[in-house]
């Protein structure tokens, strides 16, 4: 984005925010009391709906459990004020309680839901169970929590409805603004990256589980704060505010408003909750049916929710084109730094000792051992099914091996997940281009850098600092001309180059490349070869290359390993391998159907 465009974005947010704040300020003077009362509730519900949208619409975590955190916030108020009485210090105590309890609950739920390899369905079911457990606890605590009746009649802040309206309205406007800035910020793009390609994120050294847990905790804090305000204002708490029916209603409001748009869920919640307040009086028997039908119709026919419809219509009527794309941020050379995780005393960058991998009874890798030093470019060749890709996986993910040891820069990878192995200085490029389709080139690169440079929480940096090697790849492949283009519009070769640049942005000193030239033109291939040689010669990288193209292997490698049926058949210089008739025969099947070489 250019400066002007970003400024105009910011101006738009500020303008909208000011307008919203003005409506909040004027509201109590022009709106009837009933509407004010209804809005007071709906505004706080909308704040919770906003958290559902960030979790579900942006990050892809379908949650039914945000109500539980709302309930925790509300009950902190109800319990403290009922049992200890109201005072300023007790109000503070309740606030601390609500935040601490909700955050620790979120931590527990996150630990349960977001372990590596957990299915999204499982996370959803855990979030469904959470409010059920919380309400059951509230029910069974008898007079302490007021059981089903909840707590009522406690003293609270002596503040008029108008002021409450201003407080909660401002809260919602600010929250929406912050959320809006957050999801568009460098850090916020990570949510989309996680939604689109968790595996790539992990191999970029991003702990997806930890991020999701942190996000859930933040969402829990916001929901608890809303609950805190709600109970302080309404002076009543009841188990249903923590219940799963409320939790699912939030999802319905978000879906109807338009998930992944922030404004949609907020408006959706306000309209539906206030509307149902009117309708439950006028149409008590059918309003639930109407909401149900509307919900299903929207899910089936308008997956984006209802907000995009009037937007598109307006756009068509006024003939405004969709926002034009500017250019990306300025590219910069990153400060050279000591390679992370590089241990001085280790002679070899990469050491494998007796690595085996079994799939059931099938042994795919069988006792692989070799060493590779810095500045070495080691090619792994062998026919399809020889176990080359499995070998890459076993090096870069500690949990993959069945047996054996892998040392990266002297660090034993143990059973560590990929994002921890990255910290030892390893980078892996996948076989097929593995990128984030709906992000731009610049955003993808920024995410690759996030392990080394903490991304901004609320805005987008105007510069993008990359290490020399990554810059070379980008410039050489012309990607610097397309920094603001969505990755899905790139050509196959450009995607491959982008992924390579992303991996290089990690500043690894051990690089795993799985067929980096597949699908590239001759010119591109030559280019990649030059870059690889440069990386080993001038940057001291250790590169492990899986490649089919023997010409390419011959051009770039310093050493070749021939893999066949899970075993190392030959570990030799390029010349030796190329001249080996055996290799030719098993590798390409061009030769005779000789006896089994093993």
């Amino acid at each position: 984005m250019t400066d002007t465009r970003r400024d105009s974005d910011l101006r738009l947010v500020l303008g909208l925010g000011a307008l919203a704040l003005a409506s909040v300020a004027l509201g109590p003077y022009i709106l009837p009391t009933f509407l004010i009362n209804s809005l007071l509730r709906a505004i706080l519900y909308a704040a919770v709906a906003l958290t559902v949208d960030v979790l579900w619409g942006y990050t892809g975590i379908l949650t039914f459990g945000q109500s539980a955190f709302f309930g925790i916030g509300a009950y902190a108020v109800g319990l403290v004020f009922t049992h200890m009485g109201f005072s300023a210090s007790h109000a503070l105590l309740a606030l601390v309680l609500s935040l601490v309890v909700s955050a620790s609950t979120a931590l527990l739920v996150g630990w349960l839901s977001f372990y590596p390899g957990a299915s999204p369905l499982y996370a959803s079911v855990v979030t469904l169970a959470l409010p059920i457990v919380v309400t059951q606890i509230l029910f069974s605590a008898g007079t302490f929590t007021g059981s089903s009746s909840g707590l009522s009649g406690f003293e609270s802040f002596d503040i008029s409805i108008e002021i409450w309206f201003w407080i909660s309205g401002t809260f919602l406007v600010l929250l929406t603004g912050v959320a809006w800035l957050f999801v568009r910020s460098d850090a916020g793009r990570m949510l989309v990256a996680i939604r689109e390609n968790e595996a790539r994120c992990e191999y970029l050294g991003i702990s997806v589980s930890r991020l999701k847990i942190l996000l859930l905790m933040a969402a829990a804090l916001v929901a608890a704060l809303s609950g805190y305000l709600f109970a302080s204002m309404q002076m009543v708490v009841a188990p249903e505010y923590a219940g799963f029916v409320f939790g699912t209603e939030l999802v319905i409001w978000v879906a109807l408003g338009g998930r992944g748009s922030l404004v949609g869920p907020v408006l959706g919640t306000l309209f539906i909750d206030v509307g149902s307040a009117y309708l439950s009086g006028n149409l008590p028997y059918v309003w639930k049916l109407l909401v149900g039908v509307a919900f299903v119709v929207v899910i089936v026919a308008f997956p984006g929710g209802l907000l995009p419809l009037p937007m598109a219509l307006l756009r068509r009527l006024r003939g405004i084109p969709p926002p034009a794309r500017g250019r990306g941020p300025m590219l910069e050379l990153a400060e050279p730094r000591a390679l992370p995780g590089l241990r001085g005393d280790s002679a070899s960058a990469l050491v494998l000792e007796g690595v085996c991998k079994n799939f059931g009874s099938l042994r795919v890798l069988d006792g692989i051992s070799f060493r590779a030093g810095r500045g070495e470019l080691l090619s792994v060749v062998g026919p399809n099914g020889a176990g080359k890709t499995t070998l890459m996986r076993c090096i870069s993910d500690g949990a993959e091996r069945s047996r054996g040891r892998v040392l990266i820069n002297g660090f034993d990878t143990g059973r560590l997940p990929p994002e921890r192995c990255v910290a030892f200085g390893i980078g892996r490029k996948f076989q097929t281009a593995n990128t984030f389709d709906s992000l731009t080139v610049a955003q993808s690169l920024r995410i690759a850098r996030s392990r080394l440079e903490r991304p901004w929480l609320l805005h987008c940096s105007r510069t993008l600092a990359l290490p020399d090697a990554a810059l070379q790849v980008i410039r050489a492949t012309g990607l610097d001309e397309h920094l603001d283009m969505a990755v899905r519009h790139l050509s196959h070769g450009q995607k491959q180059a982008l992924e390579l640049a992303m991996v290089l942005a990690l500043e690894p000193n051990v690089l795993l490349l799985d067929e980096p030239t597949a699908g590239l033109t001759k010119a591109e291939r030559t280019l990649i070869g030059r870059i690889l040689r440069d990386l080993t010669e001038h940057h001291g990288l250790c590169i492990l290359l899986v490649e089919h193209d023997l010409d390419f292997v011959r051009e770039v490698s310093s050493r070749v390993i021939v893999l066949h049926q899970g075993q190392i058949l030959l570990d030799a210089t390029v010349a030796e391998v190329v001249e080996s008739e055996l290799v030719r025969s098993i590798y390409a099947g061009v030769g005779s159907h000789g006896e089994s070489p093993s």
Binding site: L62, Y115, A129, I132, F139, Y285, V300
Partner: protein, 278 residues
């Protein structure tokens, strides 16, 4: 003691009956069917209608099955089919369908809590304790159900096709199996089974709009821990249902109500495959 054993067995049988339909739909469509609770309710009201017409109470089982299948067919055609490529949306849509079905039922049958007559009143002496005849008959019904499902899935060509779609839908299609028809059949069957289970629990329960809700979440959990195998579902029902009875009996029934959910969540965290073999 023997009462506790019988409690465990009968509870497991009820859970099995309720969860079987959900499991089948989950297996083929890879979605959790939130409308399952509503289908249970449909079964309850089918049983109610049978009572109103003055038919033999046993007749409510086939009636419920047919009613459930019919609902399932309609819903699969109209709502589920466009959502095959969007599984998370499909889950949400089934949630909305649950609301719609429930509201339509109230429009037709009213909001009151209603009752159906139990086909078996009385108790019988079993292993030294007088135990509810109907509960024991539920064990029989669940066993018949499990047997019939097992036979249908493992003994018929249609069942083989269904298992093929469960295991690898694309490969099944490449072999000439019309997976859309398998999905249609499965969803309808799942709805029918849910409805059948609804009719099965009504003599022990009331017939009202929310009768399916308490069963729903437990059934989800059981299905998630059993993968897509009817056998591991049986094991899960016995183990987790048994835990529920034990906790209710020796600790506290309120904790008992949470046992399945909490244990299943922990189990999945520690062993993501749950009770399934590998």
């Amino acid at each position: 003691m023997s009462a506790t054993v019988l409690d465990i067995i009968t509870t497991a049988a009820l859970l099995y009956a309720v969860a079987a339909g959900l499991l089948i739909v989950f297996g083929v469509m890879k979605i959790i069917n939130f409308a399952h609770g509503a289908f249970l309710t449909v079964g309850g009201y089918a049983a109610l209608a049978v009572t109103h017409w003055g038919l033999n109470p046993w007749f409510s089982l086939p009636a419920a099955f047919v009613a459930g299948c019919a609902c399932g067919m309609l819903i699969e055609r109209v709502v589920m089919r466009p959502l095959y490529s969007r599984p998370l949306d499909a889950i949400l849509a089934t949630w909305g369908l649950g609301i719609i079905l429930g509201q339509l039922i109230t429009l037709a049958f009213g909001r009151e809590v209603q009752f159906v007559r139990s086909p078996l009143a009385g108790t019988m002496n079993f292993l030294g304790t007088a135990y509810s005849e109907y509960r024991l008959s539920v064990v029989l019904a669940a066993a018949v159900l499990a047997g019939a499902l097992g036979l249908a899935l493992n003994g018929t060509r249609l069942g083989l096709n269904t298992r093929a779609v469960i295991m690898n839908e694309n490969l099944a299609r490449a072999l000439g199996i019309d997976s859309a028809r398998v999905r249609f059949g499965t969803f309808s069957l799942g709805a029918g089974l849910a409805s059948l289970a609804g009719a099965l629990i009504t003599p022990l329960s009331s017939v009202d709009l929310n009768m399916g809700v308490p069963w729903l979440v437990n059934a989800f959990m059981l299905v998630l821990v059993s993968g897509v195998s009817l056998i591991s579902l049986g094991i899960a029902c016995l183990v987790l249902g048994g835990a529920q009875v034990l906790v209710s009996t020796y600790l506290n029934p309120i904790l008992g109500g949470l046992t399945i959910v909490v244990l299943a969540a922990l189990l999945l965290r520690l062993r993501p495959k749950g009770f399934s073999r590998d």
